[in-house]
């Protein structure tokens, strides 16, 4: 499988956030998106996840299963928010997403107990999600990546609110995923501790005033 982005650009409102971004990722490859605040990292990831339609350019998946309409259907997206309900227990949250998402072709998610063990919090799956600290919540949100199989992981600031130990734990999860032939795209300020990654540095458009309502 090969994820191809060609000449992507995106707008938010009238502002052009980024322009002409192209890359190609094969299985087992990771792309780390870096750049200052406001340079459009999150916007790029949302475009890749199919949540925003690009202004121009397109996203393609080569050698993908034929019934897939958009790469987002083969992707996990971990945004700034964890997509977990505070009122439900961690186990209820995870088993809901496991059943709701199902597995993409070519793999199966791991069991719930294994997933919470993999993020290092095996004892507290029976607690309501709201009782957990910010770092624990983030780790449980990562367990969500494991319970349903998706070949592509799109991660937006995955290690925010994590301590050093959890950082390493997360890097191991990503490595294991790449080792199994996955694709990872992550926006981050911190180094993920990955060895072989490609980097996309985004600069933003301070110099660029190409909006519709600007004087040419």
């Amino acid at each position: 499988m090969r994820l191809l982005a060609e000449g992507l650009s995106a707008k938010r409102g009238e502002d052009l956030i980024f322009n002409d971004i192209s890359f190609a990722l094969d299985t087992g490859e990771a792309l780390v998106v870096t750049g200052p605040n406001g340079s459009g990292k999150s916007t790029l990831l949302r475009v890749l996840a199919g949540l925003l339609s690009p202004e121009s350019g397109h996203l393609k998946l080569e050698n993908a299963p034929p019934e897939i309409a958009h790469p987002s259907e083969l992707s996990h997206y971990l945004g700034h928010r964890n997509a977990m309900k505070r009122e439900l227990t961690v186990a209820e949250n995870l088993s809901f997403w496991q059943r709701f998402m199902g597995d993409s072709p070519g793999g199966v998610g791991i069991a719930l107990t294994e997933a919470v063990e993999a993020v290092g919090l095996p004892d507290i799956a029976h607690l309501p999600f709201g009782y957990l600290s910010a770092g624990q919540q983030r780790r449980m949100a990562m367990a969500k990546l494991l319970v349903a199989h998706r070949p592509i992981w799109i991660l937006d600031e995955p290690t925010a609110a994590l301590d050093a130990g959890a950082d390493r734990l997360f890097a191991d999860l990503v490595k294991a995923h790449l080792g199994k032939g996955g694709i990872v795209i992550a926006a981050t300020h911190q180094p993920l501790g990955l060895d072989q990654t490609r980097e996309l540095h985004m600069k933003g458009f301070e110099h660029f005033a190409g909006g519709l309502w600007h004087d040419a």
């Binding site: 996840a49 949540l51 897939i68 964890n82 997509a83 009122e87 209820e92 709701f100 998402m101």
Partner: protein, 219 residues
């Protein structure tokens, strides 16, 4: 999909959920009416069906604004948008769960309030039946409003304002079916059938429109 249904049901029953609030609001609204119009039992039994219907309409609008906003606030909506399962089904199932948690209790509570309104047994039965058929339509219409207002900071009031005009046909045929059941010359079935048709119509149109609105609201 079944998982989504039960998750939403669980959420509305858990602490802070809206399942009980709707019924309570319904009872309060209906209990307030006799203070306004006076305790004349004949008058109350005449306007009873209409009051029950208006109360149920207002009560079922109560929790609607959180239908998608809660999902958006914690990021769940993003994941729902990404799935292979069409958003249409997700919206439909969410509406069904919302109705089971807030609409169904209204239907169950309506006979009790019917007694308070001194309504006859036939009127109570007819009201219950029309509510059972009609309230899903309100939920489906409300889903459109909730989806449109999903990204607004004060969407709650706006949802009510957007949805109430659209829900008027439901109210008209619901109430007229009940009165047709009480008063002999008017036939009962035609308005009931129209009510059922409205519900079926909105069960299709509502999720389609709501899904479209959600797609465009996400960014």
């Amino acid at each position: 999909m079944i998982a989504l249904f039960f998750r939403d049901l669980k959420l509305s029953i858990r602490a802070g959920g809206g399942a009980m609030i709707g019924v309570l609001f319904f009872m309060t609204v209906v209990a307030v009416i006799p203070f306004g119009v006076g305790p004349d039992l004949n008058l109350l039994s005449r306007i009873g069906p209409a009051i029950l219907w208006i109360g149920a309409l207002l009560a079922s609008l109560l929790g609607l604004d959180r239908l998608f906003q809660a999902e958006r606030d914690d990021g769940s909506l993003d994941l729902m948008l990404m799935q292979e399962t069409p958003l249409l089904f997700t919206v439909f199932v969410k509406c069904a769960a919302h109705w089971a948690a807030t609409g169904l209790p209204l239907v169950i509570a309506s006979p009790l309030l019917g007694l308070f309104m001194n309504m006859s047994e036939i009127a109570i039965g007819a009201t219950m039946l029309t509510l059972l058929i009609g309230t899903p339509a309100i939920t489906f219409i409300g889903a459109v409003g909730a989806a449109v207002a999903v990204s607004l900071p004060r969407g709650g009031l706006l949802v009510s304002i957007l949805v109430l005009p659209l829900a008027i046909p439901v109210l008209i045929f619901g109430v007229s079916a009940v009165y047709a059941a009480i008063e002999d010359p008017a036939p009962f079935l035609p308005p009931l059938m129209i009510l059922a048709a409205i519900t079926l119509f909105f069960a299709v149109i509502g999720p389609v429109a709501a899904a479209a609105a959600l797609r465009h609201a996400s960014d």
